[in-house]
Symmetry: C2
């Protein structure tokens, strides 16, 4: 049964902990670090949503850099080019969440078809997942950069389905990002929302996750049932 | 000369002061009101961006209501249905910024073709502009609800150009919202950004406004030159 099921794992925020930039940010700007990090992440995503809506593509890395520049202005923080470069570099070597390797290993053993599916560029994703020591667990890495748009445009999910050679009904998108869950369900897939802490809010829209889990190990357990 | 120029004024945040909800919010939730109002507005826009990207339309009023529900959860604020209804009702009767009537009156006298152009539904916009006592200054009100999408999708601006029967090069979009300026320029129009206070940040993208002004009266002065 599980051999017919394809699992698309979102990368940033789902497999990879984007809070990994906090350590350097705390050195650079002390007590502003946490809210700076949050604004940076929110702005990065907002820029990707708007670029998708505008049909005006730049890479996800460019969205990230522009969002960093916005956030510096917003908090009136002055960073040198070297410091910005260092922050951008750290984004390429962020760690995986603790339970990721064990969960993916179990799913692979069970015969699920496992993919990484992200806004990031393919070469960046390969290095990131390799550095986090989980790259070999995937059957493939699918990047929306191939088609020059971003999640949650329906084309992004259609691209994944074509790349993974699977139908929407047999494919799950697993993500901590609410927008990715509503986007994939709206585009015809099933989707699990990973709510790692109780203060994470699912968008109160008319679209609900197929499954809510509190970790990837919890997902592993529930998808087997 | 000016008779050939069409001016599309964004409504929420440009003509109409969305901070008008603050008075009631302060009564309801005291010191949380300002950040609550800001999150509500940001989430409302994020939801519209994502709906446009997802090609999954609901009205702007629905985006506003879902964003209100999100914001209540985010700040752990419990509002009754009546209180939410009252907040939503206030959004329909927000005031215009102080200088709007004078600026539009001068532009109209000069022969500019003046339109309101918004994400809101047409009936809502008509009541809003009527209540703010500026409705009669417009040659027309154009709503993207006609085509079931939101700014900044290129189709939104193309819809405006068709409705106003004008080419992009002869049409200006005037907006306090950075996303509307980058969106309209990317879609072939000219655009003025209204930076009402120095802490407003223009998105540090590769797209720059045709003109930056600090009020609509400042725009009136500069467009005449």
């Amino acid at each position: 049964m599980s051999k017919n099921i394809t699992l698309a794992f979102d990368v940033y925020g789902t497999l990879i902990d984007t809070n990994g930039v906090l350590v350097l940010l705390e050195q650079l700007i002390a007590d502003k670090a946490k809210s700076f990090s949050q604004t940076w992440r929110e702005k990065q995503l907002e820029y990707s949503f708007r670029r998708a809506a505008m049909v005006n593509y730049v890479t996800f890395a460019t969205c990230t850099l522009y969002a960093l520049e916005y956030t510096c202005k917003y908090y009136n923080v002055s960073l040198s080019k070297e410091q910005k470069d260092e922050l951008m570099s750290i984004c390429k070597v962020l760690p995986a969440f603790d339970e990721v390797k064990e969960a993916l290993t179990e799913l692979k053993k069970d015969g699920f078809r496992i993919f990484a599916f992200s806004n990031g560029e393919k070469a960046t994703l390969e290095k990131l997942l390799d550095n986090a020591n989980i790259k070999d667990l995937f059957l493939g890495i699918v990047s929306v950069d191939d088609i020059k748009t971003f999640k949650p445009t329906p084309g992004a999910y259609a691209h994944f389905l074509r790349q993974a050679d699977v139908k929407g009904e047999e494919a799950w998108l697993i993500s901590s990002n609410s927008f990715d869950v509503t986007g994939s369900i709206s585009a015809g897939m099933k989707s699990a929302w990973v709510q790692r802490s109780s203060d994470m809010i699912f968008d109160p829209w008319e679209i609900k996750p197929t499954l809510v889990v509190n970790s990837l190990l919890d997902f592993t357990k529930k998808i087997r049932d």
